[in-house]
Symmetry: D3
Subunit: 316 residues, 6 copies
């Protein structure tokens, strides 16, 4: 079955999509129609449902998953899906959500397990119980929360994927720099963005609709500090440990203009920042380069200061 | 009795001072002596105590108040106090601390009373109990804490004085801008710097020796947010109110490079920032201008971007 | 009678509007028509006048006030006023200009009177005569000049309103900071933006069409200094006073990148800057918040660094 | 006769110097002596006059020219002039001031003449009379005013020298860019720094002691604009011409942080800025490179962003 | 024969143009047509060729020169060229390329000759042979390469024109500053942008389509240094000379953020930068001012920080 | 045998040191003496050699290794080594240089071997031969060159140590990010700072005295690019590979103000930058923290933006 990115004019389509955007409009002959954007994991396409009946109007909303039947047409040189049948997904449909939204390449429960097992190896009990407390508390949301609304790792379970890759980088670094305390570093990695779960409002498909009230007033760094403070008191965590982890959360954006009022004062905080940068940049670069052939330059990538990346022909 | 600023060569002095700095040294004839800096509220002077006995060495420390007898001499074109007698202050001495350190011009307990009475007039009970909780908790320290280590209001009870003047400015502003909620604004004013009390370590003379552990790792903005969060939960304060006050604390430095990761999103926060700026600047300017005559320029003032202020001859 | 903001499809309209924008176009059947934007104090709406006769073409121009009769229609999902009758306003119409353009909430002559009376209380005669000279010279234009082309106080008589509110703030501040010379501060407030009257070209409705030649080459700060210099010489004002007021005008934007080559060197200049900021920000915030309900965030406000303001539900 | 830069230990000296700095001190045997810095055009040297009599004390002041007799000694590895005889210069001495202070390499009156003759060739009478007015008014001070207190052209008659070299550069440029109006450009060059004459207070040796009152409150750009405005009105100069020249003065520092609130809006203003930069930089570089041999680097030059310049061995 | 800028509705046109942009589209009645942008040296115009035959489709491409016959029509208030006949230019047409693209105002071969002759006068043989090597190697491309893709001197042979004008400015400067080595300065001028020839890919009409691989990875400064290094070794040029010229190329953009990691350490490099700035700015200003009348302001000019330039009425 | 850091007053010392600084001075009784700074790997100390004979003067120079005999005394509260015997080191002395200067903690030849062996595993022959060419060419200097004059890795063989640790980090990263080409990344790591060998002038103890001519005019990034370009041509390396490695060298400082005119356009370049940062920061932090006890803050560390680092008590 074709994905949106492969649709060609004339194709008959029968498939599931997410409604990304929906407007009720009135045609020149005064009939109501839906002007929608439908999406799957590969892209999105404008679609029209003509001759809407009144009982349909309240049924379909942005975010809903629908099954549609239609044909791909051309309108003003753009492809458009002209829909003849539409209905909401029901439980019997057994839709694989990974077909509908871009998702982390590893099954969330496996990522969660790998991360949790790594915390089991922690030597310091205070760090271990604090980190496991948060992993347990937020387990359900971690299964689908992205790491951002529209930047790096803005995919389903992207936050978990971001944490997992950072932990792998961290494991490599502690071998090179023996003075680094691995418990502290890993705790920083696992908790640094944890409050994105309450800063952003995401549905179970990992699509962020907006920021929360406290997300806008305080942001995930400050919210994270408060949560760690509370949990540490509840769990009787050593005060220095609690403060150091709060400090790592506070300083991981590094520069004031990116939201960190303090720079890292411990080496683990310094590393946390660079590991975060590396993982975000590798994600953004991989994504941008995936759309060009070897030997070509991408267009200017907004999140990379409009750099035009090069995909090398080089082959070892 | 003369203050340090008035000492002249040849004066016989018998008075109380604070030891600002003390070094034990050895003279060329191998005798031990104290090389000290003594201070009162008007300034400081180098002083020497010759022929130190061993039992004296551990007695005198930086920060101690001492009674000394001596004579003002000239050494390398600088005045110096040559001390013949020295002893520690005892309880019978009944020393007025305001003679020894620069202090706010109003009695701390009066300032405290004026502030507290203003909170009694607050209409919103949640705001009132939250603010009064902090005023009560910190009452003792507010009697002497300065507002800074070396910048504006770095005087005894300077924090209270700063709050009081800001409240007076705030009262003027709410008359001009009726949409401003005065309870919220006054709460922001009273709490914005409250955690300086735990960020800095001050003795009862209002002299700050250093910053605390959490002061360095988190800073008074973040510490303040945590304290308000905790207190608000304990006192069952409405969540929106608690968040707004935390947001005001977080944003009152306004610019990221001055420590605020968020800019104010409510008008009361915007005003809080400007009232803070005005009161700090008026303090710094008054202080700088107090040392020159009318019609003259000061030297470049460090905290005012090295500006050379002018004291106008103008007289209405 | 409805204002534009309240128009609904199907409404019959008979009212006065300002022509904000007018284009003569040719329809597909080769007939001429007006494509106009009409405005009142609440907003603006696209409008069409079909079948234009040649003698009408030169009659209607941007800025004119017209009486129209028409009906509100829907075109491409936007409301449009289809006009059947149009004529220019005449003297008999007795139109209230405050219904047509957004204006300061206080009658200009009352604001002027309040400001002038405050100058009567000045103790220094030189300051008084200088300030009253400018108030008198510019009286006519002050009745309608806005304080900006499109930013804060860009409303009819907005400059006068800006001055008046700043004076009220100033009166509150001089009570808290007794070293401030109120005559100097008030003079700075009244004169700081006075040359906006010659920097911008505004019609009597307070709508700015463009900047003047000298406005573009020198700007209102430099123009203001020159005017004060001239007037002070003519009125035999004390030279120090004249220089201090010129310095306050020069430095009131504070930062070089906002047009001030010098920062304030006197406390009155420092206060002038902050009072100016406060009044502008309160205006911009009130305006932005007026369009959302309590408990909501505004869209990003351009002049406030794209901040999304919050309108609190808080009610004391 | 040797200059200071050539003095060697043991030399007997009898010559004229300027007192750059003078302190009255008391020796260990309680006798008064002068601790002075003496200078000539090549440098400066610490000097001592022992056994001062009381009547001498008020006779010698910073800035005075003195004739001294003495011997060069070594004290703490530094050369020092030990003075046995000292007296003030008198009119009979016929001292050449160019031997005492660094001066422009061309006789001031010749520079003045060359500049004035160039203005005689101006085609536009308004520009000509305005420029000649200022040259005539300031003729006396131009004979010795430097262009700065301590930066480029801070030498006797340095302002005139700066103007002259800039005019020569300007003459080269108008040949390459025919759209440039040479009258306007030359006027900008001659007047751009003219008010340095009133911004700084210089003695006749071209040594600046301080900045004037208006110099500090307004600066030479604003002062220059006011003077041109006044003079242009007095001389009935065309208003556009007057505004353009004021604009050139206002914008010639180019960047806001260097004091120009406006950037040039006419090509002549753009050129004025670059000519000013070129002449200042060539002066600073020549000066820095004069102290090293070919093939060597200078120390970091403060006014050139601490660059270490290279003096090339290259010889065409 | 009219140029595009002069076309009026109804004009019959028969002329040569360049195809700046070409799209094959399908009309509502399902016929193919060309939607093109045609240009000559004065501007560009939308054009349509209806009823395209299949054999035409591959014939016409962006960049081609075509002869067309057509009529100027009005469509949606914009002029459009409706083409009845079109064919590719052939050799017999004898088209003057200067009519089709904006070009330097002097014949390239004359500019080249003038530059080359100036190098013949160089006294240092190493400099001379190095510079002449590059002029000879790049002669063919210099006849048409612009100095930029879309900024200053982005015209046919613009690079040569830029070099020539800079040399003329340089000749004026070496007269004023005798310490400047003219050979070195001229070499810097001739070589500073030479590798734009390999950084950008231009056709013979001076239109740049894109940047080269190395242009994007290294840029013309680094590419220039490598080329000079290679050539100098090949020609046995003195090492200091080679390094100094490389340094001038490296530092001529002056600020790191404009691509120069080093600032000039020799006066010739300092001058090179300012001469480059002057010539670029004079070009941009002339161009912007050419489109307005005297006494008017231009729109904000993007490359000049959005300044609105003024064209003075001033006439000497 | 004690190191300098352990010396106490009264100790008799007989050991080898490096002369870091040497001045010939004359005492008050007109005798010549050496005022020296001696150093070993742990620190440095002021030292005096009295009664210098003339034949000694030219024998001892900065950088020489000497054997001295003396006693530790106290002078003005500072320790000083009073030397009774001094002679130059001779070959028989068999001095271990690692005792005299701070050195990398691994034997240079072992580090070199480990790095070279890693290049043997490279799959791409062009990359391998290019990298091995530079390792072979520079082998001798790599044995002692530091990576900086005074910043991170400014120790003997610090450059090699820096490369080795970065390679280890790189090996960890290529496991996490499979799209990264390890050959390219390792080549970038090995070559990124290679030309520091010609940018700085270091003796065999790894002490840098100054920067080279080309080091100052071009810097090690540009010098490195030229060397790679030359070597690649000589070794017939694929052009894309050569350009990519040059681009990685050019962009590894990342920000223009730190010397990189281009930002990385390939992921391997992006990683190179972050690996470089991590290794430098870990070095600087380890060094700063080594001087304080756990639970303490360091003084402000200059190269870390004056941050006061914290050494945690935390112990897993």
């Amino acid at each position: 079955m074709k994905n949106i990115i492969e649709f060609e004019v004339g194709d008959d389509i029968q498939s599931f999509f997410i409604i990304k955007d929906l407007n009720l409009k009135t045609s020149s002959n005064n009939k109501k129609y839906f002007d929608m954007t439908l999406s799957d994991k590969t892209g999105q396409m404008n679609s029209k449902v003509w001759d809407i009946k009144d009982e349909m109007i309240d049924l379909y909303k942005t975010g809903a998953i629908v099954k549609v039947k239609g044909v791909v047409t051309l309108w003003q040189n753009n492809k458009q899906l002209k829909i003849s049948k539409i209905r909401l997904k029901n439980d019997a449909d057994n839709v694989d959500i990974n077909e509908l939204v871009p998702s982390a390449p590893i099954e969330p429960s496996l990522m969660y397990k790998e991360i949790f097992e790594l915390t089991d190896l922690m030597e310091n009990n205070d760090v271990k119980k604090l980190v496991q407390y948060f992993l347990t508390e937020n387990k359900e949301k971690l299964m689908y929360y992205p790491a951002a609304k529209s930047n790096h790792h803005s995919i389903r379970a992207g936050l978990l994927y971001h944490i997992l890759r950072m932990l792998k980088v961290g494991k490599g670094l502690v071998k090179v720099y023996p003075n680094i305390d691995s418990d502290l570093l890993y705790a920083g990695i696992i908790l640094h963005d944890m409050e994105k779960i309450n800063e952003m409002i995401s549905d179970e498909m990992g699509i962020v609709s907006s920021y929360s009230f406290n997300g806008q007033l305080l942001g995930h760094l400050i919210m994270g500090i408060k949560k760690v403070d509370e949990a540490a008191k509840k769990l009787n965590v050593d005060e220095e440990i609690s403060s150091l982890i709060q400090h790592m959360i506070l300083s991981h954006h590094y520069e004031p203009e990116f939201g960190s009022p303090k720079k890292p004062l411990i080496p683990e905080g310094e590393l946390l920042h660079y590991i975060d940068m590396i993982d975000a940049r590798m994600y953004d670069m991989d994504k941008a380069l995936s759309s060009v052939d070897t030997g070509e330059f991408t267009d200017g990538v907004y999140v990379l200061d409009r750099r035009r990346l090069y995909k090398s022909k080089f082959n070892k």
